[in-house]
């Protein structure tokens, strides 16, 4: 198992009622495993099927592998500018 934390922002932080979530998943962990685990949390059911996850400050692909210590963040649709 690998333990890690995912930062949440804006509407997604509101939906899940937290700015950070701690997860533990069987190694090797992929991005889609993380987003599926977030969607299984209370409030997570309204997340899109493939929400955007950033890994080490870059948008990650669903099949990317998560390493221990990676910076993870779930990104709602961007609305800057």
């Amino acid at each position: 198992m690998t333990a890690f934390r995912v930062e949440l922002f804006a509407r997604y932080a509101e939906l899940l009622g937290a700015e950070e979530v701690a997860l533990e998943l069987p190694t090797p962990v992929t991005v889609s495993m993380v987003t599926d685990a977030l969607r299984a949390l209370p409030g997570g059911e309204v997340l899109p099927a493939r929400p955007v996850l950033a890994r080490n400050l870059r948008i990650a692909a669903p099949a990317d592998t998560i390493e221990p210590g990676d910076l993870l963040a779930l990104l709602p649709p961007l609305a800057g500018g």
Binding site: E7, F9, A10, R11, E14, L15, V46, A54, L57, R58, L71, A73, L75, P76, P77, L78, A79, G80, G81
Partner: protein, 146 residues
């Protein structure tokens, strides 16, 4: 220089940052908070960001522009509470030639909107609020009532 700020953005100061003795052209784009969105009357709004990634993306966008064109780039995005008319985002491009300045300015503002992890929570005149989702129009916030 940090791209994100909670202080009001000073366009003249930003333009001065990209001025070089041999560069006569400064092209800029400034986005102000509008009084309406999606047919609703906007009172104020709040910008938040994934700070570390947003700074990284702004720096990367500026680098890309400076690689593609012979320009100097400055970008600022405001965070926190803003009212109608406030500057939300500003881009200034210093260059020797106009064509490069316009191309780089357009590129930077488009990329900032496309890539920088910033979110906008709008508060409307009728007391409601919503997170803005440019991919789907305006979503009603779950946390605040109509």
């Amino acid at each position: 220089m940090a791209a994100l700020t909670t202080e009001p953005i000073d366009q003249t100061a930003l333009g001065a940052l990209v001025l070089r003795p041999g560069y006569g052209a400064v092209t800029s784009f400034v986005g102000h908070v509008r009084n309406h969105h999606g047919g609703r009357s906007v009172d104020r709004l709040c910008y938040s960001a994934y700070h570390q990634m947003a700074e990284r993306e702004c720096a990367a966008i500026a680098e890309e522009a400076m690689t593609r064109w012979e320009v100097v780039v400055a970008v600022r995005h405001r965070l926190g509470d803003l009212v109608v008319g406030d500057i939300a985002v500003a881009v200034a491009i210093g260059s020797a030639h106009r064509a490069e300045g316009f191309a780089a300015c357009r590129f930077v503002i488009e990329e900032v909107k496309r890539r920088v992890p910033i979110w906008k929570h709008e508060h409307y005149a009728d007391g409601t609020s919503a997170w803005v989702d440019p991919t789907a129009g305006v979503e009603r916030s779950e946390s605040e009532g109509p």
